[in-house]
């Protein structure tokens, strides 16, 4: 049994001091401790972004792939090696912009994965451009000088419509609560999605206000998609809690026992 801090790899994060991603790192190590996770049987898979640097900082296996493709890598790995605990992590840009299609299809495919998105409503690593979750009138980026002027992407509502069977939102400023959420997500059979509000202190200093604004909203027992949809259409995006949990068959169905393998006979004349 390892302690939470023994799940840190010792590599020093490149993150800015105060970055929310530190809180997520802490929460993951706490959850691993609670899960008594054997480090060699866990794999953190990520794309590209400040958030996607996380795997290297955890004492487990990791795969730091290309931008937007954490979920396919995690899917291939989990399907090929179902005994591993596979957790995909990344940012809002990685997951909802370039990776949006994989997010949709992972929700419906329902492979037994956890997907944790550190949502800071910005592209941190490329120095502060708008992401899909950026507020419409946020005009701090030179790429969208009048703000993106688009309705922000609603990750939880989309996950619901796409068929995710576990939907929750956490806050990096509450690593203990987040650790508990991750614990439950790992235990959940099927695809579990956690959106984490994880502030970017450098490009969105206004997110410091989240400390005051984030509020608890637990629907632990909610397995009614219509009720969940109603809640998600009304809330302000700063509620934290479990919003939906509705286990359904995990893909792939367990393998049939393979008999003797004869691949050749069909070709014989």
């Amino acid at each position: 049994m390892l302690k939470a801090k023994e799940y840190k790899s010792g590599i020093k994060p490149i993150w800015c001091p105060g970055c929310g991603h530190f809180g997520v790192l802490n929460a993951i190590t706490k959850a691993f401790a609670a899960l008594e996770q054997a480090p060699e049987n866990a794999v953190l898979v990520s794309g590209i972004g400040c958030s996607s640097r996380l795997p290297a900082y955890v004492n487990s296996y990791g795969f730091h792939g290309v931008h937007g493709r954490a979920l396919p890598v995690a899917t291939g790995l989990k399907v090929a090696r179902p005994e591993l605990n596979v957790i995909a992590v990344g940012g809002d840009g990685d997951g909802f912009s370039i990776g949006g299609n994989h997010f949709l299809h992972a929700c419906r495919r329902n492979v037994d994965l956890v997907y944790l998105v550190m949502d800071n409503e910005v592209y941190g690593m490329t120095k502060g451009q708008a992401s899909p979750t950026t507020p419409a009138h946020w005009d701090h980026s030179k790429l969208t000088p009048h703000g993106p002027q688009l309705r922000p992407f609603q990750p939880c509502a989309l996950a619901l419509a796409a068929g995710a069977s576990f939907i929750a939102r956490g806050y990096a400023g509450d690593p203990n609560g987040l650790a508990q959420m991750i614990f439950e997500a790992v235990r959940h059979p099927g695809f579990a999605f956690i959106q984490v509000l994880s502030q970017c202190v450098t490009f969105c200093p206004e997110q410091a206000r989240w400390k005051q604004q984030v509020h608890e909203e637990d629907h632990n027992d909610c397995c009614d998609p219509v009720a969940a949809a109603r809640f998600l259409h009304g809330e302000d995006g700063l509620a934290k809690g479990n919003f939906y949990r509705n286990p359904r068959p995990v893909w792939p169905p367990s393998a049939q026992a393979g008999g003797a393998v004869d691949l050749r006979s069909e070709f014989a004349l």
Binding site: S9, I11, A38, P39, E40, N41, A42, V43, L44, V45, R53, P55, A56, N59, S60, Y61, G62, F63, H64, G65, V66, G68, R69, L71, P72, V73, A74, T75, G76, L77, K78, V79, A80, R81, E83, L84, N101, H102, L104, H105, P252, A255, Q256, G258, G259, V261, D262, L263, R264, F267, A268, L269
Partner: protein
């Protein structure tokens, strides 16, 4: 019979040991008798040489054409199966129009007493069930003056483009089937051609039953009757053409497509994860895998797109499970970014690319060799990887096996180039020997027990770093597409970058020693080498045969290992002759340009699809060079 322009047959020469390491005695291939079937040439005993032997082993090309619904493809497949039982080898190619259903379609069948790996220039016997749209085949169905046409009485108006000189026999297949209560004039044609080739009723019925498995017994019985009626017609009105003679083939022969054989090779070499996104003409590789991988305990996932497919395969490969995907040009282009990730993170990955006409969506259902550049050069940054080409439909099995072993041994990307011709042609061939390759992470490359010091990207002597997989205790690391130190920590340092770049390039040098880099056939006194890759190789072999008959001995070499190129070994082959002719089926001469980059002095002959390269045109190219 239309091959070699003047009507000669293909011939087979003794395999001549001519490449150090590419021998019969000292390698895996020969141990397993691979040489008997990889190409149509290796290991076959020579018959006789010299011009007089040309007609001893006659081949014949039969084409069935009709509209999409008329079942000509089914007839072609059934006839090939039945003919194989009689003792023929053969190759069947399908050609469709753009319509999903309806429209024109054709089955082109070449039969011979020995293995057949390429198509001929013309058509000996054309069976027409429906003339409408025939002209759309344009340059694909070339009628010679000696072509003999059998047309169904209900085939409709014969186009004006059909040369007046050809002999035409009109037979009422439709009426014959109709009197029995069947609408299947194609089955009557099957019986007719089958009888002519010497098939027994049992053999034809077996073929019918195999093809119509899912039908009820009444349907099967009626079909058998129609086929027999067709046989009767052949007795009364045989085609005005001597029937070819079957051979005395090996005990175990197969009927399979290159795509099926590729899929089989992959599974036999240990592929246990496949990610799939359908695309013509690679879908049937994926479909065969989908229906068979379960048996091996493996898994196939249908992905949402090619970006997902290739990354899924990378995920499985990182997990230590040999993984592949298959696609065609547009999909390969989409996979380029992630292929670079496999190279940089040193994750085993096999990508089979079954080429079709390009660029862009191009001509999706027809064959071309235009993706050489993309496969060899299409990654950003300096990203050395392996590119193989399958040299015949049968060689798809061997090459996929080799690619699987390479990807896992060298922890890298192996792209295999096949094409629509190799992939979708159905071939009768000797059963392949047991798969000589197995995917496995080299034991020597496993991490040291003492995990404290595990250095994932260690710069070893071979350049192959120790690769742990999740589940291995004490060797946790994060694989990375960012440049990194030997210890897998991201690094922007010039030293680390140089070291990892060099290591990733150097590790592939081990391949330079492989005996499998090429296949070839030499002839005494050859002064010219025909150098090809992929589906050009069998065509070159046939051209060689024709040229020999014409008194022009040439060597032929088909390169299987396109990248990294074993330049020294290739140079040694080229040094044996005074001229080299590089052939390929694309517009720009991509392979020739590549070879010139190494310093090769060569002539190049290339042209795009969809019309296939033929032995005749290569022969003409060679003759022009030799005369000049």
């Amino acid at each position: 019979m239309a091959s070699c322009g003047s009507g000669g047959g293909i011939k087979f020469y003794e395999f001549l040991q001519f490449v150090p390491g590419l021998s019969q005695g000292n390698g895996v291939a020969a141990d397993n008798c691979y040489s008997a079937w990889i190409s149509p040439v290796r290991g076959k005993a020579a018959v006789t040489t010299g011009p007089n032997s040309r007609h001893l082993q006659d081949d014949i090309t039969i084409a069935f054409t009709g509209s999409g619904g008329s079942g000509v493809i089914a007839v072609g497949e059934m006839l090939l199966r039945a003919a194989a039982r009689v003792g023929f080898y053969g190759l069947l190619r399908k050609s469709y129009g753009p319509q999903i259903r309806g429209g024109e379609s054709a089955a082109i069948l070449r039969l011979a007493p020995q293995p057949v790996a390429g198509f001929a220039d013309g058509i000996d016997l054309l069976v027409v069930l429906d003339w409408s749209h025939f002209s759309r085949f344009g340059d694909e169905l070339i009628l010679g003056t000696d072509t003999c046409i059998i047309e169904d009485a209900a085939a409709g108006v014969r186009p004006l483009t059909v040369p007046a000189a050809v002999s035409i026999l009109t037979l009422d297949f439709t009426g014959l089937a109709g009197t029995l209560g069947s609408a299947h004039n194609n089955i009557a044609a099957l019986g007719y051609c089958g009888a002519w080739l010497g098939c027994s009723a049992e053999q034809l019925v077996a073929s019918l039953n195999h093809r119509l498995q899912r039908q009820d017994s009444a349907t099967l019985k009626l079909a058998a009757q129609v086929a027999q009626a067709g046989m009767g017609l052949a007795a009364e009105h045989p085609p005005p053409l001597a029937a070819p003679q079957p051979g005395r083939p090996e005990a175990t022969r197969w009927l399979a497509t290159g795509n099926q054989l590729a899929a089989l090779g992959a599974l036999e070499a240990g592929i246990r994860f496949v990610a799939a996104y359908p695309i013509t003409p690679a879908s049937d590789v994926l479909e065969w895998l989908a229906t068979h991988i379960d048996k091996t305990g493996g898994r196939l996932v249908q992905a949402e797109d090619e970006l997902a497919a290739v990354n899924m395969a990378i995920g499985a490969g990182y997990g230590g499970v040999p993984a592949m995907t298959a696609t065609s040009g547009p999909g390969l282009a989409l996979m380029a970014e992630a292929m670079g990730l496999a190279v940089a993170s040193e994750t085993p990955l096999v990508v089979l690319n079954v080429m079709r006409g390009g660029p862009s969506t191009g001509i999706p259902t027809k064959s071309e060799q235009g993706d050489f550049n993309l496969a060899v050069y299409g990654l950003h940054g300096d990203a050395p990887h392996v590119v193989l080409s399958a040299l015949s439909p049968a060689d798809c099995h061997f090459t996929l096996g080799w690619a699987t072993a390479i990807a896992s041994h060298y922890q890298t990307l192996a792209v295999v180039l096949s094409d629509q011709l190799l992939g979708q042609s159905m071939q009768v061939l000797p059963a392949p020997p047991a798969m000589p390759f197995q995917a496995r992470l080299d034991r020597a490359a496993l991490p040291p027990v003492d995990g404290e010091h595990y250095l994932r990207y260690l710069d070893t002597g071979s350049g192959i770093s120790p690769m742990a997989v999740p589940g291995d205790p004490g060797a946790m690391y994060t694989a990375d597409g960012l440049e990194h130190s030997i210890g897998a920590t991201p690094s922007a340092g010039a030293g680390d970058h140089q070291q990892q770049l060099s290591k990733r390039q150097r590790k592939l040098m081990g391949l330079m020693q492989s005996e499998h880099w090429a296949e070839g056939v030499e002839q005494p006194e050859a002064r010219l080498l025909i150098l090809g890759w992929g589906s050009c190789y069998p065509v070159a072999l046939e051209a060689q045969s024709c040229l020999e008959a014409a008194g022009v001995p040439v060597n032929v070499l088909g390169v299987r290992l396109l990248a990294p190129l074993p330049w020294e070994a290739l140079q040694a082959q080229c040094a044996k002759v005074s001229q080299v002719l590089v052939i390929e089926q694309n517009h720009q001469g991509q392979f020739a340009r590549y070879l010139r980059g190494f310093g090769l002095q060569c002539h190049a002959y290339h042209r795009p699809g969809p019309r296939l390269l033929t032995a005749l045109e290569i022969q003409q190219q060679v003759e022009a060079l030799v005369d000049a």
